[in-house]
């Protein structure tokens, strides 16, 4: 792809449901499902006020190629467009993303997620990256995305950072 080539996102549709499902299909006929699962309850013991929090997950729903999905320059733009659409539906929300730690590729997945969201332009959003380390050394890379004008932004980001930095004595 040339630098000056305009990349348009794939068309997406919002299916809704309890997990706020979106879907899109690539040029290779790979169908992706994007979900924003309500996870506000996870924050109940960390914040003194209720928030609308959602965990972002992207999954392959159909892959007729039989191979690993190839790199696709349109996918980051599509993810960014889905994020924007979902933030328009619920502006004062918080989105959380955790990188899968089932194998040792968490760092690669984190880079991929970072690439997806770098297409957010301007200073409208704040992204906070933290790492939680398990007793066995497993690292869980987490990101929180929040609108800059969220009235509870400072308290929410502070709670998120404090949680990651917290250690038992």
């Amino acid at each position: 792809m040339k630098d000056n080539e305009l990349v348009l996102p794939y068309k997406k549709l919002f299916l809704g449901g309890s997990d706020n499902v979106y879907g899109f299909e690539t040029v290779n006929s790979i169908v992706y499902e994007v979900k924003f699962k309500p996870t506000s309850y996870i924050f109940e013991s960390y914040l003194a006020f209720p928030i609308d929090a959602f965990e972002f997950v992207i999954s392959v729903a159909l892959n007729p190629t039989g191979k690993n999905p190839p790199l696709d320059a349109k996918i980051p733009f599509t993810i960014a467009s889905i994020f924007m659409d979902f933030f328009q539906r619920i502006p004062e929300q918080v989105i959380i993303y955790i990188c899968d730690s089932a194998d040792t590729r968490q760092s690669a997945r984190k880079r991929k997620f970072d690439q997806w969201v770098e297409f957010f332009k301007g200073n409208e959003f704040v992204k906070v990256n933290t790492t939680i380390i398990d007793i066995d050394g497993t690292r869980y890379h987490n990101s929180l995305i929040i609108r800059k004008d969220n009235p509870n932004r400072l308290a929410i980001t502070e709670a998120f950072i404090n949680l990651a930095e917290e250690q038992d004595k």
């Binding site: 392959v60 959003f125 992204k127 906070v128 950072i161 949680l163 930095e165």
Partner: protein, 57 residues
């Protein structure tokens, strides 16, 4: 996008933080497992049909 990255130290996080991460991870795995089942549901198939119609325009 304004980005803030908190560098971890190399010591284990608190039990509370580990529980938080594990809960998110469990949710994620469940949702990824569900994706292939969701695809078979009539509402997902209907959405896909609409998507393909839009893409063909």
């Amino acid at each position: 996008m304004i980005e803030i990255t908190v560098s971890p130290n190399d010591r284990p996080s608190s039990k509370r933080a580990i529980a938080f991460a594990k809960e998110l991870m469990a949710n994620k795995k469940e949702m990824m497992r569900e994706a292939k089942e969701d695809f078979k549901k009539p509402e997902f198939q209907e959405m896909l049909k609409k998507l393909r119609e839009i893409n063909e325009r």
